[in-house]
């Protein structure tokens, strides 16, 4: 039916869907400027426009939308953290994610798989019990399971004793999910653009202008833009942009590498994580195994891949799934992660008035995209940091009141 198809294509009743309007000139001034057009920046713009009626917003990105860590994460969504502050925060995010495709009218391919964190040592089992109890107390589904149940959920996993680190137990988190990461940024951007938010790609911020301790304008390659408030959401470059604004962060920029295998028939339903083996894996809708491990051993502003990383990761992958020995790696990449000392983000107030921070997203940023956007938007609209973000304030470090989530980080250490 080629003719019918062409007719359909040119029919005015079915116009092509335009997600983002074409690029326009920068205005002289905006109510809110969001530095960084990743998932977090786009989500903040979306909630500012939809929930708070603030539409005089510009999102600036030095590259393209969702081209940084939004495009480079392994798309795992979960809420089974260790501290009550962390669990509450990520649980709100999982709730928003579940409804997101409908809310945005944009398919983010949300796929609930269940999430298994394997324990290979007695101390790991203890931490899993701790996490399960904290989770259950706060209404997050999470339980400790043993070999029979693990085998039922993931029959292909090697549960035998003749490996270096046999699996003793697992923390089972049924709401654990994966999603199409790019679609999250695109969906939020399209939703925000429908309400009049401007997106300026290839627009690098080169300076932050302050007057009397308050941010008044943002300098870009394309000229200076006055602004009422600024949200900084530039994972990987957080320290550099914060330095423009005149303050230091408790962040080291360390690459996090990942890779995918050639596509295989579906065999792996749950997401499998092993902190002790520094490996995690899920199977995408395309059949590729999405694999990652711990962060690189030293800070770097670069996204190169290394053989050291792949050798270490694959050795451990083969211990979990020995039959993958002949499978080829198809693609590899890295993202620059903002690692904080306590494995929690840094959000909210900064030493600069009206300059709000959304940083320190290390290896756990994608799963928090909706809650960050929503709560950062609330912060900007009300001028007050909501209670759910308070534990993650920058000043927690000089108050020595950190939110220790290292025990719940998949493999970031």
């Amino acid at each position: 039916m080629p003719f019918g198809l062409i007719k359909y294509g040119f029919n005015k009743e079915y116009p092509a869907r335009v997600d983002l309007p074409p690029a326009c000139d920068l205005k002289d001034s905006y109510d809110v400027v969001i530095v960084g057009g990743g998932g977090h920046g786009c989500a903040a713009a979306y909630y500012l426009a939809t929930e708070h009626g603030i539409t005089d917003v510009a999102v600036l990105d030095k590259g393209y939308l969702g081209g940084g860590n939004t495009a480079r994460n392994t798309a795992i969504i979960r809420a089974n953290y260790l501290t009550p502050d962390g669990v509450n925060f990520y649980a709100e995010s999982v709730g928003l994610y579940k409804e997101l495709s409908n809310a945005l009218d944009y398919n983010i391919m949300y796929s609930e798989r269940g999430h298994l964190t394997l324990a290979h040592t007695d101390s790991a089992v203890r931490t899993m019990r701790w996490r399960a109890e904290v989770n259950k107390h706060l209404g997050v589904e999470s339980e400790l399971i043993f070999a029979d149940e693990i085998a039922r959920l993931c029959p292909t996993l090697d549960l035998s004793d003749d490996v270096r680190f046999p699996v003793l137990a697992a923390l089972y988190h049924p709401p654990g999910s994966i999603a199409r990461h790019d679609a999250v940024a695109w969906g939020y951007a399209a939703g925000a653009a429908r309400h009049g938010v401007e997106f300026h790609q290839k627009t690098e911020v080169t300076g932050i202008v302050k007057e009397a301790g308050r941010v008044v304008a943002v300098e870009t390659e394309r000229g200076t833009v006055k602004c009422g408030q600024v949200i900084q959401a530039v994972a990987g470059s957080s320290s550099l942009v914060a330095r423009m604004a005149g303050f230091k962060l408790p962040i080291r920029t360390i690459p996090l590498q990942a890779c995918v295998s050639q596509p295989l028939k579906p065999f792996l339903d749950p997401i499998i994580v092993s902190g002790s083996l520094h490996a995690y894996v899920s199977q995408s809708a395309r059949g590729e195994l999405v694999m990652g491990g711990s962060t690189d051993p030293y800070p770097l502003y670069g996204t190169r891949s290394s053989l050291d990383f792949k050798e270490g990761l694959m050795a451990h992958m083969l211990e979990l799934f020995p039959f993958l020995g002949e499978v080829k790696v198809l693609r590899q990449w890295a993202g620059m992660a903002d690692m904080t000392p306590d494995f929690s983000p840094v959000m909210g107030e900064t030493p600069v008035e009206n300059y709000w921070l959304d940083a320190g997203w290390g290896t756990w940023g994608f799963k928090a995209t909706p809650v960050c956007g929503k709560r950062m938007a609330e912060t900007v609209a009300t001028g007050r940091v909501p209670d759910i973000l308070q534990p993650f304030r920058l000043s927690r470090f000089e108050e020595f009141d950190q939110v220790g989530e290292k025990g719940a980080a998949s493999v970031g250490h």
């Binding site: 470059s237 320290s239 962060l249």
Partner: protein
């Protein structure tokens, strides 16, 4: 990486130890100054001076490294920088 004690060695033998920073006087510094020393990082995109340890020999030294080009520019013993002995009470 070239260890000042052991010569060129595979990078996997070394452990990164953080930026070289000056410790404020613990008895006199404010909480903010101490937190700055303990937690805050310059984290520059460019040349940084930092501690490294050759793990098999536990030898700590200083390296100058470019964090954009992923290049080690120079390594030297800490004695080149820290010449005075510090006695803790």
């Amino acid at each position: 990486m070239t260890c000042p004690l052991n010569g060129p060695r595979n990078i996997s033998e070394f452990v990164y130890g953080g930026e070289v920073v000056t410790m404020p006087d613990p008895a006199r510094s404010t909480d903010a100054e101490w937190a700055d020393y303990v937690f805050l990082e310059e984290n520059p995109a460019g040349v940084v001076r930092e501690w490294w340890c050759h793990a098999p020999t536990s030898f700590w030294f200083i390296a100058e490294r470019d964090t954009v080009r992923d290049e080690i520019l120079r390594t030297y013993p800490a004695g080149e920088v820290f010449k005075d002995r510090i006695d803790f009470p």
